[in-house]
Structures are given as structure tokens and as C-alpha cells.
Symmetry: D2
Subunit: 360 residues, 4 copies
């Protein structure tokens, strides 16, 4: 391929550079051109060099960043895709384990999968890149260019709810009318994943609360209100109000907060762990916490990434939200930059939700 502009790091050491270079990459039957790429906490942590697991592709001394993207097909050698088609490239690439071979690299059994922009595979923050059609998901061309960039974060939510569906069936979980009326979901963390999890919990019929240890601005409160989600600043409110939790979702990775809320799970309650923060301070887990988990048949499940089906579900859900809640879903994208902007990867201010780069 010819030289392209790209944002690269040197994993796991960190740093970020905008370069213009020829990039050696796996071949593919498609060439994709990003419309938007999203920036998330993982990107910032890679740049900060605070994660241990990212690594450059074999034989490369750099890694192209970016794992959230919506693209148009720029060139195609596959009759099912035409130039101009709108697609989402997937993050994870199959290893050799049985889960990978069945398309469930999100459940990789041995850790040998690859992740674009993170572990051993160049990411999407570049003008053009080759891609295999095996790893792209089609987006209907109905004005979703902007919200479509949320497909990648939302597919994590879809996979987590797949896990929830399976786990929660270990007993009879819903209300007596086989709905979630009267069931309470709490989501810890008010970043973009926290927002998406809370919106989806509400969509599933839960009375839904999102919480953090600081207030959030009017803009965010308004979005939550449009989606029927309640907010609680738990540094202010006594935690007693967070009683009777049936579904708890953590996007913070903070042990102390997780344990505080988890001790309020009801019988047959489910805790989904999604957020990670290796550097977070430890918190004491007590014998009575274990007792609580045992006696109430509580389930605590880690969930990471998602499969192709979850990307498809995410696109479908975004299409619904795009129309049905005014332009609330668009409001999650609080910041649109271009590759020419400086300080693209600076820590978002606390009231920012999602920053994206426009490549058009």
C-alpha cells in the first residue's frame, strides 16, 4: 500500500505520533476508509503506557492505534461489498482455540486472539487500511455515520446481556408477570460505556440507576432523562437508597465501589464486571460478603468484548435509538475532532462522554 496518515504508538511503552508511512499489514479482500474513529479510555491508557498487555504486531516496532471505527469500503475484491458501503471493522481476530474457530474470539479459551489497535494487530486510526470481509459488519446506509461509531462500545453491552440472559436463568429471575417491572439495575460509572449499559438496562425494562462519586452536568442529566435513567451521586446520597439491586454492572474496575454496591444485591442477583483498572486500590472482601453471595445464589461474571452477532445487535439498537429518543443518542458524541487537531488524546474533561475523529 501507499503511504497513509496514521496515529501510532509503541506498545506497551506508549506515546503517540501522527506519521505518514507505508504500513505493512495483513492482506484483505477490502480496503476501508474510516468515516469516524472513536477514542476511548483504553487508547489513552495505551498512550500513557499504563497497560501491560498491548503489543506491536510481530516484526513491527509500532502499533497503529484505534479499535472503534465506522468506515466506507474504498476498494473491494468481494462481490458482496461495493465501494461506498458502510461497515464496522471488528476488534478481535481469531486465534486457534475452539471458541475462536466458532467465531467467539470474545470468549477466546487461551488468550491467543489478536485485537486491532491493542494486541499485535494494527488498528483503525489511519486514512486507509486493508481488511478481511470476515471481520466486517454491514451498516444500513440510513444516516448512522456518526452514531455508528458507538457500535464497538455497544457490542460489549450486547454480549454482556447475552451473558446475563444465560446466567440469570439459573433460577426464575423476572417479576411474577414475566417482565422486569420492579427489578432494579444499577450501573457504576458515567463514561460512555456506563451510559450505554444503563440505556440498555432501561431498554430491557429495569428501573435503572447510573451512579458515580461526583455530580454530572446538565447535558448528561438531560440525556439520561430522555432515556428514563436515574442518576445518583453516591458521594452525596446515603448508599441505603441503592437497596434491592437485581442487576449490578460495573464499568469502573474499582474494587471498593464494586464491593460496596455488590453487598446490596438481592437474592438471585447478578453482577456484571466490565470495567478494569489494574492500578485501582485493593479493597477488603469479607467473610460475610462470601456468605451473602452463597446464601442468596448471587452470580458475578466478567464479560469482555463481543461476537459478530453482538455488533449486528448493536447496529440495530442504534438505529432504534437514533430515531426514537430525539437526537439523544447523537448527544453521547460530545466532541468531534479531525486528524489535524492537536491534543486529540488528552484526557477528556469530566463531562465529556465520547470523542471521535472525523476522517472525511
Amino acid at each position: 500500500m501507499e503511504p497513509v496518515t496514521a496515529f501510532v504508538t509503541n506498545a506497551p511503552r506508549g506515546g503517540v505520533n501522527k506519521v505518514r508511512t507505508e504500513i505493512e499489514d495483513d492482506p484483505g479482500d477490502l480496503i476501508l476508509k474510516p468515516v469516524f474513529t472513536g477514542i476511548c479510555g483504553t487508547d489513552r491508557s495505551i498512550i500513557a503506557g499504563s497497560l501491560s498487555f498491548p503489543f506491536n504486531p510481530p516484526g513491527s516496532d509500532y502499533l497503529v492505534l484505534g479499535h472503534e471505527a465506522i468506515c466506507r469500503v474504498y476498494d473491494s475484491q468481494n462481490s458482496r461489498y461495493r465501494v461506498g458501503d458502510l461497515v464496522i471493522p471488528m476488534v478481535r481476530r481469531k486465534g486457534k482455540c475452539i471458541n475462536c474457530r466458532m467465531g467467539r474470539q470474545d470468549n477466546c479459551s487461551d488468550g491467543d486472539k489478536r485485537e486491532a489497535g491493542v494486541t499485535g494487530k494494527h488498528g483503525f486510526m489511519r486514512e486507509l487500511f486493508p481488511e478481511s470481509s470476515e471481520y466486517v459488519v454491514r451498516v444500513p446506509d440510513l444516516g448512522l455515520e456518526k452514531v455508528g461509531v458507538l457500535t464497538e462500545p455497544l457490542k460489549n453491552v450486547m454480549k454482556a446481556f447475552e451473558v446475563f440472559d444465560r446466567i440469570s436463568q439459573r433460577s426464575y429471575y423476572p417479576s411474577d408477570d414475566y417482565s422486569m417491572n420492579g427489578k432494579n439495575a444499577w450501573v457504576i460509572g458515567t463514561g460512555s460505556e456506563g451510559f450505554l449499559y444503563s440505556m440498555m438496562a432501561r431498554e430491557r425494562g429495569f428501573e435503572t440507576y447510573i451512579t458515580n462519586r461526583h455530580p454530572i452536568d446538565e447535558n448528561r442529566l438531560e440525556i439520561l432523562e430522555k432515556f428514563g435513567v436515574n442518576f445518583m451521586d453516591y458521594s452525596k446520597s446515603p448508599l441505603e437508597s441503592a437497596d434491592n439491586i437485581d442487576l449490578l454492572i460495573d464499568t469502573s474496575g474499582d474494587p471498593s465501589t464494586v464491593l460496596r454496591f455488590a453487598s446490596r444485591l438481592r437474592h438471585n442477583g447478578v453482577l456484571i464486571l466490565f470495567g478494569t483498572n489494574e492500578k485501582a486500590q485493593s479493597a477488603p472482601m469479607s467473610g460475610s460478603f462470601i456468605d451473602h453471595v452463597v446464601e442468596k445464589n448471587i452470580s458475578i461474571v466478567g464479560s469482555v468484548d463481543g461476537a459478530k452477532m453482538h455488533y449486528e445487535q448493536a447496529i440495530s439498537q442504534l438505529m432504534k435509538w437514533h430515531h426514537s429518543n430525539g437526537n439523544s443518542i447523537e448527544s453521547l458524541i460530545t466532541n468531534i475532532k479531525t486528524p489535524e487537531n492537536d491534543n486529540l488524546f488528552e484526557r477528556r474533561d469530566v463531562n465529556n462522554i465520547k470523542t471521535v475523529i472525523s476522517w472525511q
Copy 2:
């Protein structure tokens, strides 16, 4: 009913007395006479007054002890049961929630179930007691009087494996030949529940290890060997040998031990929490432990009690073990006492496995 000999406590204060008295109880279509009743850690803790949750039946100032029993029908007003039939009475009695109403009081949604010998319902350590046929499970009369008393503890194991079956299907869990060959199960704790869990894990095809922080005697090692279960004293062996755990079962309730072993779970691994110890010392849960649970799609599930189907499965399993492993299963019952013995409820010595009272 006429006066009977019974072992009673005053819950939750504790203590134990052998009394001879008329006992007011719920009516039933059967009168049962215990053949054997088992003594377990819960009984000893109730007597010690170290548990907060036990309570006397409404209107009673005492609680008959005992939730593990095998009985013969002494009198029957139900045509399906004849005098002399061998049966197991169930521990939990239905409350009003939907799980209880479907016979899943082991998954009670609101905590309103009752437990014979523990919470608000007289137990089985008495010469005779009325029972409803709804709560008894039949035992084929094939020489199982003695091992049959293990039905109650084993039904917990059967329920836990039902939970395991459901939870583990969130991804592809078995080996590539759809067996558990090459999968490792570790069981923490060498009490009778630990033994039963490890024997069942082996039965399921796992390479199975049982572990504790002290050595165990020859008798116990021999039983384990007959069942193909390995023992490790983890106070001696470096924990590195406990690598690559696919299924971890805890019967200790000790946070520090649980976290140490849980950090060695493989991708898609499952931790079943069964043991409880409210007074155990807290242990620090770190951010990297949460990261481990998330990135590897690990599931941690509490499991308590079991349903009628699990009692039936336990009886069937005991019948198999009774014959197929010499008299190894009988060897789990290390101590047979009579109601006349003193110090029945004294803390078992460390190499005792299961003490039972013979009522014949």
C-alpha cells in the same frame, strides 16, 4: 403427639439439650422415625451460638436440631407410602415467592423459606416427627441406610453442578473432544462437603484436586485415591502447582484462600462459592483480580441448598458409589454415635469426616 426424645437448642443463642417432651409441630400425612441423622458444621455453629440467622419456630422457645436424616415411615395416611418405607426429609420448606412455588425454595427470591433444624422449623434429631409427603424423597431399600444420610449434603453438590452446567455454557467450555479430559477442578476444604464435591468433579471427568492448609491422615488419602482425587497441602506445596484451574469450588468461606486460588482460574473458568464463614478474616481484592475476571470471562457463583430433583440425583449417585468403589463411600462416615452418647456435638477431630447418630 406423645413425648419423644429430642436434641434442642434455643436459636440463635445456642446451647444443646437432650429433652423428652411433647413437640408442637406442623401436621403431616406421615410420621417418620430417623434411622440416622448427620451432624454437620452448621449444627455445631448453631449450638455455639455463632450464627445470626437461625431462629425458633413461631411461638416456640426452642428449636429441634438436625437437617440431615434418613428415616423410615412409622405411620402413613398417604397411600403412596407404607410403614417401613425408607425416605429422606427435605430441609427447605416453601415460602410464597415464585421460586418457592415452583419447588425451587433453594432459589428462594425473598428469603422467606423455612429450614428444618435451622430457621423457624423443628429439625430431625428426635425419635419421631410428623412430615408432609410433599417434602420427602424415597430411597430404594437396597442397603443404603447408612450412606443415605449423605443425601442431604450431596444434594447441595448436585445443585451446584446444575448451576455449573448452566453457567459454563456461556461459552464453549469442554475440551475439543467434548469431554472434561484435560480440564482441572480444585476443591478447597477437606470436610465432608469438600470430599463430596471432589468426588463429583472427578465423576464429571475433571482431573480433580482437593486442597487444605494441613496434611490429612492415611484413611482420608486412601478414600481420595479410590475415587481418583488428588490431595495437596497448600501450606507445603508452592501454589504454582495449582495452575490452570477450570473449575474452582470453595467449601471454606475464607476470603484469602478463595482469592489466592481464584486468581489462577483459566479463561472461561468457573468459581463456585459454597462454604460460608461470616467470621473469617477479610482479604484484599485488587484491581488486577477484577481485570482477571473480566478479561478471561470468569464466572463466580454462589450456590446454596438444592431442590427435590437434586435429592433424587444424590440418592442415585450414592447407589452407584456404594457399589462401584468398594466401601469407600461408607468410609466417609467415620463416627457412629447413639443418642445416649455424651459430647455428641463436640468439635470433630481434624481427621473425622462425618459423624452420624444412629436412632435404631
Copy 3:
């Protein structure tokens, strides 16, 4: 209640009358006023007296027709509902079996449920009726009055796909990329249920075909095209083109057609039986058909009605379709009548899809 205009029959004898009368009914905490009520084949068959199972409410010599409706709250004694709220009333009412008690009267274990407008409970084709909030589902007030009347037929589809999800997991069902790409769904019958099933199969990612033994008009073809569904007139096309079916859904109830297509199911294929036609001609089932079902691990499942959760999913799906496919979903409603129109219940012409009555 005061006299209201209503469409009534005398079940199971049949006939239909518009009456103005006081109707004795179960009390409820809400009074509902229909916006639209749908007319379906069941209604026409009840009127024709060709079904054996409909019956009048106990003590009544007539039955108010109608089980598809979208209503506004006219009066409320329940603080969760306000006058003017948009709601869907459910068809089935709980009996005493365990499935009913858990809100799954769609899976009633003993046939003792009631169905509004069909079996023993007055239906919705009347100006006003009392309703219990237990049996209503809320609709967001976003312009769904018209398509909302499709909630009732679509909830059947949602339940059927719940069944499909569970059944299909008896083996590994999807394509190797864990999507339905390359999987074929065929839907027999081009009535409104056939349309909704085919649209949902496409939504799930199947290459989808709808089929009938006669051509359909331009209007219908256009709707199908907008939803990406293919049509085949199987009286014209050789059946060979219907090869390699992974999911077959029948809305016709015709044994001969069902068996013809079912013999083309692939390994692990699923046949959902939804349509019924008691009077349809029998068709010969051969030994080699049974052989085909056995050797290929094929599943054939009846599915009827749906639970509250399926109504909620249907509403959500209608909201998505309402916006994302132009006004295609609206086009399914081909005929809007008023209670004043004559011949409301006449057999729809072959190119009609759904007739509704506007009560405003």
C-alpha cells in the same frame, strides 16, 4: 358501566352483531378506550363458527370480539398510569398452573388460561372496557398509534424466536463467524403473520424467503424488498430452489405444504409451527421423513402466543422499523375502517394484509 357500542358474537356458534349495551366484565384498575383494533383470521373464523374452542364468558350468552388493540387510558385508579397513556392490553389471562403463575400463560400447562375475545373473556372491540394494569403494556407516545396495533401479532413472533433461541442451542447452529450469514429462513404464508415472521428472520440475519402458492401484488413485493425479504410463488418455481433450509416457519397450518418444505431442512434445522387450520386436508408423513428428522437432529416446535416481555420486545421492534425502513411497516396496515363501516369482517381480498378499526 354504562352502555357502549361493541362487536359481539355467540361462541362457538358464530355470527357478529354491533350492539349497544351494558357489558358485565371483570373489574380493573383502568378503563381503556381503543385507538385501533386489528382484525385477524381468528376473528373471521370465530364469526364463521368454524372453530371449536371459543366460548362465551361464564354466565354470558355472548362474547365481545377482538384481541388486537392499542388503547389510551380513559380512567385510572393506578398511580402508575395517567389518563391518555398509550397501552396494549394482553390477550391471555392467568389460570392456576405454574406457568400461568409465573406470567407465562402463553405456556399454560393445563389449558385453563383465558383469552380476551376468544375463550371465556370479553375482547377489545368496544368503545370502553375495564382492564387490570397487570395485563397492559405501555407504549411510548411517539407516533406509534397505528403500527402499535401490530404489537399483538408481533409478540407471537418474538415468543417464537425465544423458543428458536433455546431450541437451536441444542447444537452449534450459527455460521462459523457466529452470525446467521449464509443461513436460510423460509416462511410459509403471506398474511400479516407471515410478513412479520419474515421481517424478523431477516432482522436476525437470515437470508429470508417468504412463499405462497400464488403471486402477490406489487405493493406487497415492494414492502418485502424494503425489508430485504425474497418472495417465491412455489406453485410456479420448482421446489428445488427451496434447498438448504435452516429455519422454516409455517403460518399456514397446511400439512402438505409443511411436510414438503420440512423435508428440505438441513442438519440441525428448526421448524416452527405457528399457523393452524383444523380443517386442512391431511398429508402423508413417511418413514423417510422421520428418518430425515432423526438423522439430521431436526427440531419441530409448536409456538403459540407470547408473554409480557414479548409484547415489550414487539413494541421496541416496531419503533425501530417505524423509522428505519421508511414507512414500510405502516404499509402493512392496508385497510382502515370505522365501527360504522359495513362488512367489516368480510374475508379480506388476497392482497390485503391487515385491516384495522379506528375507534377515535
Copy 4:
């Protein structure tokens, strides 16, 4: 390999010859020597040339018969197996589809698996044969040589009950006490598979009936009685007695019989199709039969073969029955022949259950 005595056919033409020859076969890390091989209806049909699907291994003009065997390891190049170990060789060999690759060749997605003694792979009716340890299942050496030959037919039953477990969970299936008390299972056909299915249904707690259109002899009645299974000659008894079926299992493959009993399935009932008979006469399937399946949420599922886990479960179950029901399970083997006997494959007389060949 050196010349061995073997029973061969020429598939699909049929016939049977005892030959002594060198057999070209896939290599393996084990050499196995049969202890017993079972003869079943499939073997007889292959010999009769009445099946269309059997075929010789590629490049071979004959096929060694036999797919039911219990063997001892005769030579081993695998450290996990020692000479003399008791093992069961599996029937099906992996093809390339995803189900095969995960060890579920019983659920093969494309028909490309191989079956020893049936389709393209030499079977077990020979003195010695090479085998891959991937396809053998270990049997504890506890006197199971004879009943162990039932592992292969019983593994089919175990897989069918796995399917049942999954399918039946589409609604709440058990009785209100979460047991199968009060649930009725009917098994059509009194061959060895019929016996094994009925014994397993009883083991699962069903009130169980086995049925055929002719009487059975005292010997068979006695075996059934020991296992608590009822017999009905449906040519004599009015079918009304077969009311309220919750689980129906067919081992006959006869459409007329299947439809007669299936029309008596209760709500949420399950029909497992296992038997096949391509030549059986067709029977009329009516519109009201489809109506019955739909309105009662009935499931009809084909089930064939089983995975390694089902072989393991079968061995475990045989161990239990071996001891717990006197020698009833041994009584299923009504006929022990040697390779020297004439007319080994003659149609069993109607009261024979299972014929085996002893190779010792």
C-alpha cells in the same frame, strides 16, 4: 497388520462373510481387541442391504461390520493407556464442520462425519484393530465386560436426554415440587433401545410405560418390573389408557404409531424421535395434529448418536444399574455367541433383546 478374522459386508449391497485377511485401516496409537461386540438392527439391515446410506471405506471393496464393542487394549503407544485397559471405541469420527471440530460429530452440520461399521470406516467385528485414543472411552475394570457392550446403545439415550433437558426448558416443565413425580413418559418399541430409554425415563423420575403392538414374554416383563417400568400391549388395550403423555420416545420409526401416541401429548410435551424405518408405511398427518402441536407448545425433536460425554455418562449409569437392580441389566443380554457360531446375524426371535459376540 497381520491377518485377522473379521465379519465383513459390501455396503450398501449387503451380505456378510467371515474372512481372515489383512485389513487396511487408519493408523492409531492403540491396538484394541474386542471382548464383546453387540449386534443391533442396523447391522442386520446393512447385511440385508435394505439401507441406502452405508458405504465401504474409500478404496475398499468391503466394510468390516460392528459399531457396538467393549475392548481391551492389546498394544499401546500412548502413555495414558496400558495393555489390558478396558475401553469403548466410539462410532462417529469427526468431519470438518464446526460441530465435529468441537467433538460433537453426533450433531454433524453437513453429514461428512464417518461411522465405524456403517459409513466409510471399518467397524469392530474383528480380532484386533488399530484405534486412535481420541475415539476411546475408558471403562473402570469392575466387572463391566458384559454390560459394557450396552454403552454404545445407551449413549444414544444419554444424548437424547441432553436434548430433552434443553428443549423442555422452553417452558416450566416439571411438577410443582420440581420433580418428575406425576409426569408420564411413554416409550414405543420393546427392543434393546426401547428398554434402555424406558429405564432411563424411570431413572429420571417419570411414571414410565413401554408399549408395543404384541405381548412380551415373562422374562422381559420381569426385567421391566425390576426397573419399575410398566408394559402395555397397545393392540389389546384401548389407547385411552395412554393419556396425558409428557414425554414420548419413539424407537420404531413407524409414522402411524408415532402420530397416534403424539396426539396424546400434554401441554409442553416433548416427542423424541430416535427409531428409523425408511420403508415404513406413511400415515396421514392432519391439520388438527398441527393445531395440537401449536396450541400446546409441543416439541418434536430428532436425536441421533451421542458425544464422548454421553459414552461416559452411559458407563456411569451401567455401573449403577449393574449393582442396584440385581442382575437385571445383565438380563438384557439374552444371547451370547462366538465368532464360530453359525447364523450369528439371523433375525432375533421376538423375545430376544440383545445378542452379543464374545471374542475372548
